[in-house]
Subunit: 392 residues, 2 copies
């Protein structure tokens, strides 16, 4: 439902916010302390005078701050390029969109590959375990730093959705609304199991060397297998059949070489990932997802009582990794606690990847939701001009 006026964002740059400079420290959920902490982030659009038009976009497991536009000299656009821009779902003519990389990551933010100030060497496994709550606490520092007291919405898919849900529970007064996409109330044993298979594949690589591989040979094979497992779970039986069928490639001599196209695809995805992702970050971030459980954190929805944040919960029919029943469960728990939560299951055969590729229906839903949030948050009389224009 993109308008004809919809345009994409051009050249952008990541920025970096550093806090918890010594002697200050950032205290984690585990009570471990780290500092300084840097978050990489990008922004698109302009913050309005009232500072009421900020949207925080949160990325999935291996995403980064580069959600839209292009980095100079790079061909690939940001990971949600078709959702963020003038006239797009998150309309940068109207909203100030922030995308923050996660704590524990390796794309400009502090994580296990960062220098440990105590040793002046990369942390490696000395980096403390971080949780989704820690990621959100760090993002809150960034949001405050940008001068924002209340976000119009926080939105994220997959692990980004876990962060968005955590934002709602940790800082309900700072978020007018949240859009939780293809995510879960708590990581299930099957979701943990896939992550664990990936971690074991990585740690089985002797080059992993107990996490001490910086400046040496990378555990490329292990990380690549972990990524292959991931990609199988992001697609679906149907989307794989449509994309690859049983087509084979000629000239594969080795008995166990990648004869089938689907095998080639997985190999490509695996080795492409190795170029851009720190293996230890993969361990820390998948672990954070595994520990995510609102059932532990907000038993029986107790911590949800009185929360005014409006929720839109989205799932995709063909997503078997974060199946629709999990979105319905989030929505139910929130409504049971008296919250305003709606759940939509969108039809798609793209599997979990759907939130990264199914734009039209998402755009329609998110635009309508944001319009509604504005109306109820600021009242019909105080709706800013750019929102009024949405009513046509």
């Amino acid at each position: 439902m993109r308008k004809n006026t919809a345009r994409h964002i051009g050249i952008v740059e990541s920025r970096y916010f550093t806090f918890a400079h010594p002697p200050d420290e950032f205290i984690l959920e585990s009570n471990d302390r780290i500092g300084p902490v840097t978050l990489a982030y990008e922004t698109y659009g302009e913050l309005n005078e009232d500072r009421t038009n900020a949207v925080l976009v949160l990325h999935a497991l291996t995403g980064d701050a580069h959600a839209a536009g292009y980095h100079r000299g790079q061909k690939a656009a940001g990971w949600w390029h078709d959702m963020i821009g003038p006239g797009l779902a998150f309309d940068t003519d109207k909203y100030f969109v922030i995308c923050s990389n996660v704590l524990g990551g390796c794309r400009g933010s502090t994580g296990p590959s960062s220098l440990n100030p105590l040793t002046q060497k990369p942390y490696g496994l000395d980096f403390p375990l971080v949780t989704i709550r820690d990621m959100v606490d760090a993002q809150r520092r960034l949001v405050r730093h940008l001068g924002i007291e209340k976000l119009l919405t926080v939105v994220g898919g997959s692990m980004g959705g876990m962060q968005a849900l955590q934002w709602v529970v940790s800082y309900p007064d700072m978020v007018a609304s949240a859009i939780l996409i293809a995510t879960t109330w708590e990581h299930t044993p099957q979701q943990i199991a896939f992550n664990e298979a990936g971690r074991q594949a990585l740690m089985a690589d002797p080059n992993w060397n107990d996490g001490d591989y910086y400046g040496k040979r990378l555990p490329e094979k292990g990380l690549s297998v972990a990524r292959m497992i991931g990609h199988i779970t992001y697609m679906s039986d149907t989307s794989m059949s449509e994309k690859f069928g049983r087509r084979t490639k000629e000239g594969v001599k080795f008995k166990f070489g990648p004869k089938f196209e689907v095998e080639n695809y997985l190999h490509y995805r695996g080795y492409d990932f190795v170029k851009r992702f720190d293996p230890n970050s993969y361990l820390y971030i998948t672990r954070a997802a595994d520990y995510f459980s609102m059932a532990d954190y907000a038993p029986a929805g107790k911590s949800l009582q009185g929360i005014k944040t409006k929720l839109l919960v989205i799932a995709f029919s063909g997503d078997w990794l974060y199946p629709p029943y999990q979105a319905q469960h989030i929505s139910k728990m929130c409504r049971n606690a008296g919250m305003d939560a709606r759940c939509h299951i969108l039809r798609s055969h793209y599997g979990h990847d759907a939130f990264l590729v199914e734009f039209d229906e998402q755009t329609r839903l998110y635009k309508r939701f944001l319009k509604n949030v504005h109306e109820t948050t600021f009242g019909p009389k105080n709706v800013p001009t750019f929102v009024k224009s949405l009513y046509g």
Copy 2:
């Protein structure tokens, strides 16, 4: 639906049949030749005088000839112990049940860990690629060796179902009926992808050493990861949640140790597998499954025309690895070719493992099917006494 008289089988022994002794050779689908070839097998019950009561049971990916009863000194029963025995689904008071290990395997049959007669060393990767058709061709030799011209039924689940389907197409006159369980008309890209992730995990282990690890350190870590991936696909989201929930274990010190019960389970399954399975056999057998395609072998069901074999095709509602639509497709292709094929989808939340654990409904269906096959194959007048007794 087991009768009160149902009993289990006691002590059994595997037997071995060797053929293609030099200068004879066994010619594979690839036109490669091997010999001698040994198949491990077990039998339960007695072959009747007319030799009309033989049932051939075919195992899944990593199964073996030991389908029922106990090996002396061993605690674990055969893998279909609750389905084969006096009064059970495959009633050994009535039927002569044969279970054959597959060519390419490592449980007593010729495979990559067998001695290459040319070098007197294990074949390793010099072992030729084998297909499901090759496995069936070898089993045919065994069946002839046992003096059987026509099997009452061939039955198998998962890769055993592929073999059963291949039996029907390769040797229709030798099989009065077939029971195909939790299997597919052709291996899909998703099924190939999971196998490939496992193979890559195994081959990434430096101890794999291009398949030349015999007498040296085994690629334990790699094979273990492959098995973990497999086990996730054999269970279901629901069965994992019921079995493990998010329960954790105390005392796991390592940050990325198996904190969750589901992780412990996978580790146990992985390392247990290493004790009993040859890593190279894992490569060869998964590859045979990947190459399985009736769509290639019997395009548009052409090779099915005129086949009189009766088919019972079974799937389980919660099996996402070999989903019910694949059973329905087999059944449809066969019926389109004029065959007598019926498809039943059994309700179960056990995932692909259901055929190894859901006995009651399978027992009821298979007993009724076998009774019917007997009646129509031998005519009402010629129904052997043991079959008449089924009518009560």
